[in-house]
Amino acid sequence: MASPAIPQFNGTLGKIYDWVDERAGISEIMHELLDEPIPGGTKYAYAFGSALLFIFALQSITGVFLAMYYVPSAEDAHKSVEYIMKEVPFGAFMRGMHHYGSSAMVIMVVLHILQIVIWGAYKQKRELLWLVGAGLFQLVLAFSLSGYLLPWDMKAYYGTVVTVGIASEVPIFGDMIKRIIIGGTEMGTITISRFFMVHVFLLPALTAGGIAAHLYLFRKAQPAGPFNMTEQEAMFKVEPFWPGQVFKDAVFSLVVFAILAYLSFATLAPLEPKADPSQTQYVARPEWYFLFLFQLLKYFPGSTAIIGSLIIPGIVMAIITFLPFLDRNPERHPLKRPFVMLGTLALLVAIGALHLLAKQDDNQNFAAQLKAQEEEGARFLKEPFEPKDTSQKSLAVAPPPEAFVKNCAVCHGENGAGGPAGPKLVGIAKKPGRSKEEIAGLIENPSAYDASKMPPMPQVSAAERAAIAEWIHTLK
């Protein structure tokens, strides 16, 4: 088989190659894979699909290795991610690649779709190819949603609470769906375990199958070629896939890789403190690429919510999915397809506008809280790693000092677990402004430490204050 894509070897190497080739049919596969004619020549505009494949491979590799340390349970998920970020060599890099890779995946899938739409490349017997592609697009979104929960930090927890809430808006079956998703009525280990299984087994398997089908159908249909040439013109300028297109794909993937690697080294992937369902100030925001959907929800109050959360996105997704059936005109030139082009533009403008409105709303109304959350996250990431202590030593908590029993237990509970009049003290040592000295100071003069509701305790001596602060710091 004379193919310029197939290497020619001489001598012993050639004999070995021939031996393997006769049995494994390498030349045939290489010819099939690499000599594919591309009508109209190779282009960087065709590189998005390969880049998606490349990012998917990156996500798979980094994901598999992250699973070496990650544990899907409410007890350990957050700690294991923190361990990856702070203790494992290159852990922050690996998680960064996976985190930023998910954004890259969404960006790339949108670019890929736009290219196909502008080129009219879903036409001429490419309906199946497009349908499988639309399914893959939805899988990419499902990946983001299911991956979001896994670190079990504040963001993950509340993001999922909202997502699950949206699922429960489905008429009649809503509550059932919600219970099945979270695995009961309480979000916890069972929920994480479900999302984990979906994220690392189910979706990758479906995606791999989808990619295989997509590539097969693509080869079957053959590349559509430029929209501004007739088929004869395009065939006249035909170029094989190897090496021209492979090279352009490789250069493009290299750029993507360089950007991801730079981001992963330069900026830590965010991780906030562990999910805390009692936190009432937290302002939950989805990942940036879902922000427009989040904004849409705001326009449909009360019982109309389902319009913004499910009906409108559902209709748009259905139109996208069935585009080749809706647009049956064989014309491919974008300027001669005003309806689809303007529709696409309108959708992009709407998404952009919703995104900006969401940003604006946040800047006006939640700027301080969002900034505080961001700083809290950054502070948490800088904190040195403290292993979770389940040793028998740690279980034996010392009894509270007498001064605590006499003066504090009435409000804060006998073991500092909190009571009707006072907040819980367990874990308070981790909060900023609550060092031992500061707690001792707070007991002496509460209002100086932002605790104006607490009465001053002049009867507690300095030594007792220190003993109480010491003990409170052992509460975990």
Partner: protein, 177 residues
């Protein structure tokens, strides 16, 4: 396509090699961090400093002369992101004023040895290693050395040991940490 011009051939060669170089470059750039990540902290040695962690085995006077007694101890371990406790068994034999304190881990491949009173030997059922009451290996044992003794002291009438793990298979005892 056999009638490629020379220019085309050079161009194709450049793009072909370029693709391969880029692919290899990305693979290489990923391989190093992934390798380091996968090894993780496996090769880090614990830095407890030199302070010895003496663990109580109970009152020194309660041991019977010459009779191996199993004592359970609880050690603190660091398991990834968790600090937790783990139980181990120590064999203690009193010999006059001295003590023999053995870890129950077989020096062969790490199973646990048990005291078999009928045969007066410690026995490891994994690959049939038998040890004398003094810890020496009996003839025919799969293990290359006798049972590993732990450092002990008697403090305030309490018998205490320092728990350690040792390397498998070697004819002499070497600390594994």
């Amino acid at each position: 396509m056999s009638d490629l011009s020379e220019v085309d051939k050079t161009k194709r060669l450049f793009m072909g090699l370029g693709s391969i170089v880029i692919g290899a470059g990305i693979g290489g750039a990923l391989a190093y961090p992934i390798f380091q990540f996968a090894v993780g902290n496996a090769l880090k040695t614990a830095d407890d400093g030199d302070s010895k962690d003496w663990i109580d085995l109970g009152s020194a006077s309660e041991f019977e002369e010459g009779k191996p007694t199993a004592k359970k101890i609880t050690i603190e371990i660091r398991d990834g992101w968790v600090k937790s406790s783990s139980d181990e068994t120590i064999w203690v034999v009193k010999k006059g004023n001295e003590f023999l304190t053995f870890t129950a881990t077989c020096p062969h491949l790490g199973c646990k040895v048990n005291w078999v009173p009928e045969r007066s030997e410690y026995f490891c059922p994994c690959h049939n290693s038998a040890f004398e009451v003094t810890g020496e290996k009996k003839p025919g044992a799969a293990s290359a050395r006798g049972l590993d003794t732990l450092e002990y002291r008697v403090s305030d009438g309490k018998l205490q040991v320092v728990f350690q793990k040792f390397k498998n298979l070697l004819p002499t005892k070497e600390v594994f940490s």
